[in-house]
Point group: C2
Chain length 331, copies 2
């Protein structure tokens, strides 16, 4: 294993410290809870939004804390749900008078931790609601889930509720918006290689030199099928062939498209995918209102990508277009 790390056990803390040092004006780091939070949180004019999840999916979620996005992120170790006391501690520390919205990708471990933390926080008198994201069309139940997995489409839920929270929307309204965005968001991914968790030091699963995993999960979970490598056109056709009929997305729909890199795939290849997707969707009679090409939810160093479609309406598009500021930036 060759990575830019010191001690694998310090992978997450050293990363979090780096994020905080790079954003001294806007972010704070609370090592006790693996918490990265906005320097101005809690802000009692808005609902506090917190996401947990395991580490290893960066920029999700520790690098998506900021104005118009999350107020805080308290990840667990790599691919592990945050401990319950991280969530409770973060919730207590950041709770605003308008309440706390917890965003959770649908994995059994995360659900359990967040549901128990919600209960404990409610008992402490904090108004808390929890929103589950399950955008992955690949498989119904999976290695770590009952129901569908939450993957890169989580970004759109975060962005929409983050924008609405800035306008002062209350907790019920954020839950309505988040559930609505989740309900029109569909994702599927493909792995060209496995990923290597730092503490394991070896690839998480075996994938032959000529093989790809279609429908892979962001923790290396199996997808729909193992296939021989195929050209980008065919990969797009297979992924869209699963995503489009699922909602279904239909002619006349206005959509947002995300091509999300899984960590080891260069952005050049993501734009090749985008070009193909754009033409396929246009041929199906859809209009692409917004596009996102880059890394949003990764699986460590996995080479691969996922495609997400969101059916837009005026409300969702306005929320996605609202300004936001996070650690993941260019300039």
């Amino acid at each position: 294993m060759k990575k830019f790390i010191n001690d694998p056990k310090q992978f997450v803390p050293e990363m979090l410290e780096g994020i905080a040092l790079a954003n001294p004006d806007t972010l704070r780091y609370v090592p006790e809870y693996h918490l990265i939070h906005r320097a101005d949180a809690p802000n009692h004019d808005k609902v506090t939004i917190i996401q947990g999840s395991g580490s290893g999916h960066e920029p999700a979620h520790v690098m998506t804390v900021g104005r118009g996005m999350l107020d805080g992120a308290c990840p667990g170790d790599v691919f592990a749900a945050p401990p319950i006391d991280y969530i409770i501690g973060s919730t207590k520390l950041l709770a605003s008078n308008k309440g706390v919205l917890l965003l959770v990708n649908n994995y059994t471990g995360d659900r359990m931790a967040f549901e128990m933390a919600e209960e404990a926080s409610s008992a402490d008198g904090i108004a808390v609601r929890t929103l589950f994201i399950d955008d992955d069309v690949s498989v119904q139940d999976s290695t770590y889930t009952v129901g569908r997995r939450g993957v890169a489409g989580n970004f759109f839920v975060m962005k929409a509720v983050g924008a609405a929270a800035e306008t002062g929307a209350d907790l019920d309204e954020l839950v309505r918006i988040g559930e609505k965005v989740n309900s029109v968001t569909r994702t599927m991914g493909v792995a060209l290689t496995a990923c290597t968790p730092p503490a394991r030091g070896a690839p998480l699963f075996e994938l032959g030199d000529d093989e790809i995993e279609i429908g892979v999960g962001i923790h290396g979970e199996p997808g729909r099928r193992r296939a021989l490598w195929m050209p980008a056109n065919e990969i797009v056709d297979e992924l869209l062939g699963a995503i489009v009929p699922d909602l279904p997305f239909v002619s006349g729909d206005r959509v947002a498209v995300m091509v999300n890199g899984l960590g080891g795939t260069p952005i050049s290849e993501l734009y090749i995918l985008y070009g193909i997707i754009h033409k396929r969707l246009t041929a199906l009679g859809m209009t692409i209102g917004r596009n996102y090409v880059g890394e949003y939810c990764t699986s460590l160093d996995m080479a691969g990508a996922s495609i997400t479609l969101v059916r837009l309406d005026d409300e969702i598009e306005m929320l996605l277009a609202a300004p936001a500021e996070i650690a993941m930036r260019v300039f």
Copy 2:
């Protein structure tokens, strides 16, 4: 080789088409010259800025075309200088009344192509100047260079002259600014893996499972030495140990720091590097005025990173802070 491509020969055109389709309002694609240019170019109120270089370094430079950055980018094939007629054609098409600034990373092939294109364009009556970037401290002469190589520090030259051009600065002023930024910018990189050019289909060089290449070039050129993998702390010490004394950067300096991923390294690891660098530079008495963590100039799918330092003054910092808009974006 497993990549998201169709035909390796179409790698660059399909990527460029994807970029153009993703940015219909702001960018245009001219297949004849591999040219991506601003939809509003030429703008006769500003000097036109064009960069060439080989492909395979994305986002550099085809994804850094936009307001406050490049007016156009006309790359060659992967790791190949653009053909002279691409540069001449692009220059003619985008030339503004205020002239054209050509940005060129210092490689022999690129120098030749751009110098000949400058001569031809000048003969056509276009005011053209060419600026060479050579920020890589690793080696003096190299596989493809006389003198030093131009690598990720190129971003700062682009950003500074791009910002100045928006204010109406003339060609001489842009050359002065660009040369100044280049003169205070220093970079060195390290490869954890080789990269695989699509047309070659195999890694460009051999690197053992436990080896790293310190001072690697962005085309896989050898650096200062081949070493066994070492912890991130030691890698940072070795890179900064070459970069800091080179200018030299000294106590009291205010600097910009870039941690640039080479294509296959996840952003989590880049932030681990950033945290270490931040502490080292602070301990040396420097202040970090701006930081950049992400992918700016890659080497296809190479796992690795480079560190760039820029000594700031008020003028440079103001130019770096100016607004800009490019294809590489988050929201």
